[in-house]
């Protein structure tokens, strides 16, 4: 019984760790899509940021410099996406895919050029990474049954970016639903003409949204390379940007629901890892790939209209062209 409980807690703990990039990326996507820009380029921005963060952390020996560099790189990519799809009214998805391909190729070339290694950066020392923080009071609470374990394993012992991720969700909610910027953001994703005729800049709002998205994706990418891992490896984001997009749809573009979706998808991922090679009665070996496919399956089922309805912001994917 105790074993099972500990296993469960450890799986939950692992799902916390894997869902962090999903949270950052899906919140980034939330800003973009709420403003009417479909952000298929989340994956590319995560990857670029992971690479630049790992490189900068390694060269300058500080995780903080790595984080800032990663955010900067992601923002540059977000602005390229904006330039193509907002200023030049290009197809948002095509330019987003271009971002992904660009990131994939660029990270390979730059690792070779800068570090003479194909697709990886040097392994980071512990002072070049974000390390786990032990929260105060672990020793005191530790002896309390259940709560002690939960506090030690689940709540304490994460790096700072994990706590930041969980703090950022209510902040996003507050910005989107309680501020002037949020009101305009939601409006521009629903009916950009209404925003234009109210005397506001549609393009300006969309650029701001993409910039915020760039910053958030940057943190997510940096987390993957210099907090969760200790170096950049080839294609290390492994589709998390796409899962984040799925979580965004699954959470219906609402911060808390998206958080729940991220956690669900993270949990499935952690579960798949934990069940690898485990043989269960009746079923036999657990079909791990199936579990990993669940986020995508759930999203497809949702989009097909079986679980409620996922209605995206009305103007998303449409470049705004001024006409009556």
């Amino acid at each position: 019984m105790n074993d099972l409980l500990l296993n469960l807690i450890l799986t939950l703990d692992a799902s916390f760790r894997v869902c962090i990039p999903l949270i950052f990326a899906s919140m980034a996507g939330l800003f973009a899509e709420r403003s009417g820009v479909v952000d298929i380029g989340l994956e590319g921005k995560l990857l670029m940021s992971a690479f630049i963060a790992a490189s900068a952390a390694s060269v300058f020996g500080s995780p903080w410099i790595g984080l800032i560099a990663g955010m900067f790189a992601s923002c540059v990519f977000a602005m390229i996406h904006g330039f193509a799809s907002i200023t030049y009214k290009g197809n948002q998805i095509v330019s987003g895919v271009a971002i992904n391909i660009l990131a994939s190729g660029l990270t390979m070339i730059l690792t070779l050029a800068w570090f003479k290694k194909g697709g990886i950066t040097p392994t980071l020392q512990s002072d070049e990474r974000f390390l786990s923080i032990t929260l105060p009071g672990v020793d005191i609470i530790d002896h309390i049954p259940l709560i002690g374990v939960i506090y030690r394993e689940l709540i304490s012992g994460h790096n700072i970016l994990v706590y930041l991720a969980f703090a950022i969700v209510p902040l996003v909610w507050w910005v989107v639903y309680r501020t002037r910027f949020g009101l305009r953001l939601r409006a521009v994703g629903e009916n950009p003409k209404a925003v234009d005729t109210a005397g506001l800049s549609v393009e300006g709002l969309r650029y701001k949204a993409l910039l915020i998205g760039g910053i958030l994706c940057g943190i997510g990418g940096a987390y993957i390379a210099i907090a969760h891992n200790a170096q950049f490896t080839k294609e290390m984001t492994a589709g998390q940007g796409f899962i984040a997009l799925a979580a965004l749809i699954f959470g219906k573009w609402h911060p808390y629901k998206v958080l729940a979706a991220c956690f669900l998808f993270g949990f499935l991922d952690a579960l798949a890892l934990r069940l690898q090679g485990v043989v269960l009665p009746v079923i036999g070996e657990v079909p791990v790939q199936l579990i990993e496919a669940i986020p995508y399956l759930l999203t497809v089922i949702l989009l097909a209209g079986f679980i409620g309805k996922a209605i995206p912001p009305k103007a998303s994917a449409q470049p705004y062209i001024k006409e009556l």
Binding site: T179, L183, A187, N191, D196, G199, L200, K314
Partner: protein, 518 residues
């Protein structure tokens, strides 16, 4: 500023969109505290002019004064600050926002919205009382009726401090009751000193509510009148304009059996608004039936129903042995197979596909013809040959079936569409605006072809807003106003004045010629 006698003054405002001269040296002066109507047909440039005033577009040249101040607006914010509010034809509302949220958008005040919302609530309650504009403030806009949504738009303008309110075709989407309500609101606004600019093509509204009226035609401002000193006939004539009659030789019609009998039609448009009611007529073989009327009086909707695009709500159409009713509709394909050809009003959107080659556009609607459609593949050589032959027959230039449809001039596009429909030898032809916006040579050619079809014994229904066109080639004329038939005359007895009165539904009732007399 408030005491200024003239609220809005436009001097020589000029605007081009590519080759289209949307506003041609337009002058306008609107007195403070009046209701000023601007009438004109669709495409006359009314909306463009108002969008320039609202900062949505910029004029190429000219001068604008608002309350005697020189005014150049490069975005809507500047216009709002100058005291101009606009209610667009298609509402500029965020549908899933509440009324309150929609109103404050763009003039929130502080960075946090909770406070702004509360301030707006107090102010809106006051405005609602003052002008009789009660709206539930916490309901999502999508749940409101169209009339209520329009109130929200008006409130938006007033909340932002509008002293001049521009309304673009405000009654187009309203029921008659809602329209009456709107006019009552206009009166209340006027009493408070608000200046109202009403854009419309409905003469009745102009006559009943405005103080002054300006008429636009083809981008030009053609007349300014005091409403009390003009009448619908004069306005209708100014809107449509007299045009040079083309010299088309035509023989007497030999009309035969009715091929299409429409009885008591009631039709709703795509938005579910009733646009045609109690319309009955028949179209006989060897005869051209012209349907006249100012744009937007239900002719377009009628045309679509005849072509099988819109269903009937009431009534029936007997056509070539089939009966269409609210219960039984025929789709355009079935109608085509029956021998009904349709030339849509809007050639760019419905007549052809701009990105298709001419040969493909010349095939639209007939792609299932046996000799062309061979199961999976189209017989491309035949498609091309067919296109070449109809291009020759209808003098479509250049004769190049591979050229993109959009690369042909308007007249040649229209000839291609007519050729497509005429060459299939239909029995009934439904033709909408055959010569709109094309050069004079093509006009003459097309009209001659239509008369040829008539002489070949086809029944032709011609819908056109060009009164001159209707008069020069029709044999019988029906006039529509507000979705109803307001007159039926023989072309031989028709004169422009009578038709103009019928188009404005201003004919004394004893002079109305009814169906019975036909």
């Amino acid at each position: 500023m408030k005491n200024s006698h003239i609220a809005i003054e436009l001097i020589d405002v000029d605007k081009h969109f590519g080759a289209v001269h949307a506003n041609d040296k337009v002058n306008l002066s609107v007195k403070t505290g009046t209701i000023h109507g601007i009438v004109g047909e669709n495409g006359a440039g009314k909306s463009t002019l108002m969008s320039i005033l609202y900062g949505f577009y910029q004029a190429d040249s000219g001068q604008i004064k608002v309350f005697d101040q020189d005014f150049i607006s490069t975005n809507s914010r500047q216009s709002i600050e100058a005291g101009i509010g606009m209610v667009h034809q298609h509402f500029m509302l965020v549908e899933n926002f509440t009324v309150l949220e929609n109103v404050i958008l763009g003039s929130e005040g502080g960075a946090l919205i909770t406070e702004s919302l509360e301030k707006a609530r107090i102010e809106l309650t006051r405005l609602a009382k003052e002008y009789g504009l009660e709206v539930e403030l916490d309901v999502a806009v999508e749940e409101l009726s169209v009339g209520m949504q329009q109130r929200v738009e008006i409130l938006k303008g007033l909340y932002k401090g509008a002293k001049v309110l521009i309304l673009d075709e405000p009654t187009g989407v309203l029921t008659p009751q809602e329209s009456d309500e709107l006019f009552r609101i206009f009166e209340a606004l006027k009493k408070q000193g608000v200046t109202i600019i009403l854009i419309t093509h409905k003469l009745r509204e102009i006559m009943s509510i405005t103080d002054y009226v300006s008429v636009m035609r083809a981008g030009k401002m053609v007349a300014h009148r005091q409403t009390s000193e003009t009448n619908p006939e004069e306005l209708a004539e100014l809107m449509i304009g007299r045009k040079v009659l083309l010299n088309i030789v035509r023989t007497e019609a030999k009309s035969g059996d009715p091929l299409l009998i429409a009885s008591n039609l009631e039709i709703h448009n795509e938005q579910g608004i009733k646009r045609v009611s109690e319309v009955s007529f028949e179209a006989r073989s060897g005869e051209i039936l012209g349907i006249a009327g100012v744009t937007g009086n239900g002719q377009g909707t009628l045309l679509k129903a005849l072509a099988g695009i819109l269903p009937l709500s009431k009534g029936s159409i007997e056509i070539l042995g089939e009966t269409i009713s609210p219960k039984k509709s025929l789709n355009p394909q079935e109608l085509r197979n029956l021998g009904v050809a349709h030339v849509p009003e809007d050639r760019q959107r419905m007549g052809l596909i701009s990105d298709f080659s001419a040969s493909e556009s010349a095939l639209l609607g007939y792609q299932n013809d046996k000799e062309i459609n061979q199961g999976v593949w189209l017989k491309r050589s035949l498609v091309k040959a067919n296109c070449e032959s109809i291009m020759e027959a209808f003098d479509v230039r250049p004769i190049n079936p591979a050229l993109k449809s959009s690369n042909f001039s308007g007249g040649n596009q229209q000839k291609l569409i007519l050729a497509r429909e005429f060459e299939r030898n239909p029995q009934v032809l439904i033709i909408g605006q055959p010569t709109r916006g094309i050069d004079i040579g093509a006009i003459e050619f097309i009209r001659k072809r239509i008369i040829e079809m008539r002489d070949a014994g086809k029944a032709i229904i011609l819908i056109s807003v060009e009164l001159e066109e209707i008069m020069s080639i029709s044999d019988r004329i029906i006039v529509m106003c507000d979705g109803e038939i307001t007159g039926t005359v023989d072309a031989a007895n028709a004169d422009e004045a009578t038709l103009g009165m019928m188009m404005a539904n201003a004919l004394p009732s004893d002079k109305q010629i009814t169906e019975a007399q036909l």
